[in-house]
């Protein structure tokens, strides 16, 4: 019996889909059976990020409406046999699926896969409720910006209300240079504010743009720093104790100085 993990954020554009694609591919590269479930009906993108957009025949709504069998709609990944994608529908709207159907689907997928990763749409409406309906765990993605952290806080509250407690945080697109000069919130700032455990930190990285252009997740590029960060997160999901990468623990000189002086920062 596998595990259903929803990847959510509240705010759009913080990297939910990229995160789903990369963690899923990383888990598959470590011989786990993984299925990626795109629940962003009407605005699907996980297919293009994975480079699988040309293989779509059926979609999520076809499955929930019984137009096809679940196996027919699953698209096998180009690189890993045991990695599959269930794409969202593009021409229907979010109300085409309900939470009960999503719960059932997740239960079904869990039987055949080690990990079911659910890519959640932005927002807190029906699409969000659908995405979390069958989840066992949640990952909240944020970036070091006020708007993203605020929405993450709201999402954490809603996850707790939905009895999906102790979600873990992924801080995406952090820029160590700006953290160093005090122009970007650092890891501790965000952990303090959100009072939540950290799953990992991903640096801003050009290789993400390049790999997305090609439809090849960055975790497959051994030279990609973001890819390395995602591989680390995947290992933590598998229960390994992986320390943060060196850029992940950068501190400003002043905060080190304050600690030395006994001030709490």
């Amino acid at each position: 019996m596998g595990e259903v993990i929803v990847i959510t954020s509240g705010k759009g554009g913080v990297g939910k889909t990229t995160t789903t694609a990369n963690i899923g591919t990383a888990l598959a590269s470590m011989d786990k059976k993984v299925v990626l479930l795109d629940t962003d009906i009407g605005l699907r993108n996980l297919d293009v990020v994975m480079g699988l957009e040309n293989r779509i025949v059926y979609d999520l709504v076809d499955v929930t409406h019984g137009n096809c069998r679940l196996k027919q709609a699953l698209i096998r990944d180009k690189r890993f046999d045991h990695l599959a994608l269930l794409p969202a529908a593009q021409t229907k709207d979010k109300t085409a699926v309900n939470t009960e159907q999503m719960f059932k689907l997740c239960q079904q997928l869990k039987e055949d896969y080690d990990y079911v990763l659910v890519d959640c749409p932005a927002g807190i409406e029906q699409g969000f409720k659908n995405a979390i309906a069958g989840a066992d765990k949640a990952l909240v993605v944020t970036t070091p910006e006020i708007a993203a952290v605020r929405d993450a806080d709201r999402i954490i509250g809603l996850l707790e209300a939905a009895e999906l407690p102790s979600p873990k945080l992924i801080i995406n697109r952090i820029r160590p240079d700006m953290v160093k000069t005090g122009d970007m919130m650092d890891i501790n700032d965000m952990i303090d504010i959100l009072a939540i455990e950290l799953a990992g930190v991903v640096p801003e990285d050009q290789t993400i743009v390049i790999s997305t252009n090609k439809g090849e997740p960055a975790v497959l590029d051994v030279n990609s720093k973001a890819g390395q960060a995602y591989r680390n997160i995947a290992k933590r999901i598998m229960g390994e104790d992986i320390p943060l990468m060196s850029f992940e623990v950068d501190e400003t000189i002043f905060s080190k100085f304050k600690k030395l002086m006994g001030f709490k920062s």
Partner: protein
């Protein structure tokens, strides 16, 4: 201005600290709307504690969070029935 206060001033004006302070304020407001259950639990705890000191009308007790632009205040309206002299240590 000595070096230390200069450093302190620089620290406060760092844009990340401005962001943190703004976030802190905005989240105080956001979080007030999240859980009526939490407020109910708080009310029950309050009643328990206050009952050690005086007899109150727990049915009429009201606990609310009120917010305006700059602050959030917790208000409680707790009708007192009887104050027990012996327990006023």
């Amino acid at each position: 201005m000595d070096l230390f206060s200069k450093l302190l001033k620089r620290e406060a004006s760092l844009s990340k600290n401005v962001a943190k302070e703004r976030l802190r304020l905005v989240l105080v407001h956001d979080r007030t709307t999240i859980s009526p259950q939490l407020l109910e639990n708080l009310k029950e705890d309050l009643i328990k504690v206050i009952s050690n000191y005086m007899e109150i009308d727990s049915g009429e007790t009201e606990v609310t969070l009120n917010s305006d632009d700059n602050s959030v205040a917790l208000s409680a309206s707790i009708p007192v029935i009887k104050i027990n002299r012996l327990s006023s240590r």
